[in-house]
């Protein structure tokens, strides 16, 4: 989960891909255990920590004396949290997985993952385009 040397936004996208991957794993685990008695559905929380780290909503990112240091510290500090989803309704055997909700979350995670990859492609493409002075390389 490290920032790339390029650009804090590409570092943020990298972190986002890691976190979405983790979310996909948790959802797969829930789906696989949809019939296991006593299994509690799990969920991942990272979005508010990520928002703080990126300074979205006007929240300031972690302060530092040297302004050029801010960019490198931000997204490394985001630690995802896996917890038992309190919204799950217990069925007779103690299982709290709701299949349709998990399928919806799966589709959303995949879409946001793909969106992050597309953004990264474009950002890297612009970078390569600028490096190659508009001739040949890049998208």
């Amino acid at each position: 989960m490290s920032d790339s040397g390029f650009d804090p936004t590409i570092g943020a996208l990298n972190t986002s891909l890691n976190l979405r991957q983790l979310q996909q794993n948790v959802i797969s685990a829930n789906i696989a255990n949809a019939d296991t008695p006593g299994y509690k559905a799990k969920a991942v929380e990272f979005e508010s920590a990520l928002r703080d780290a990126l300074g979205v909503d006007g929240r300031l990112p972690a302060a530092s004396a040297n302004p050029s240091h801010i960019a490198h510290r931000t997204t490394d500090a985001v630690h995802p949290e896996i917890y038992d989803d309190p919204n799950g309704v217990e069925s007779l055997d103690g299982n709290t997985v709701e299949r349709s909700a998990e399928m919806a979350k799966l589709a959303e995670t995949q879409l946001l993952y793909d969106a992050s990859v597309e953004m990264m492609k474009r950002k890297l493409g612009m970078l390569k385009y600028a490096i190659s002075e508009g001739g040949g390389g890049g998208r």
Partner: protein, 131 residues
Amino acid sequence: MSNNLTIENLTRSVETGDVERFMGGGAGGATSSESRVMREMQSNGMDAGGAGGLTPDASKTFSAVLHDSFAKVNQNQVDADRAIKELVSGRTKNVHETMLAVERADASLKLMMQVRNKVLDAYREIMRMQV
């Protein structure tokens, strides 16, 4: 394209800030699509010319025009970065807005790059002239 690079055209363009004439707008071939895009960008606010987009603004020098354009391109990049951060952190779920912001940044960068290349070509052409 070379017929537009007469000394007369160049000096007039530099004085009036009319980048379009400089770019060979109106002539056929590869440059006309760029000038069309240039006109689009002008009307979208890049403002290389005057308020209407096509009339040359006598008060702005060419370097000021370029300076403004660079600032706008940079602003587009900053906006695209902000849109990406908002999508990634779940602040907005509108993927299309983010895609638009990124594509706008991409297009303005490409346009600026082409303008830069043309300017450099013109400069080299001038430097090659025997005095």
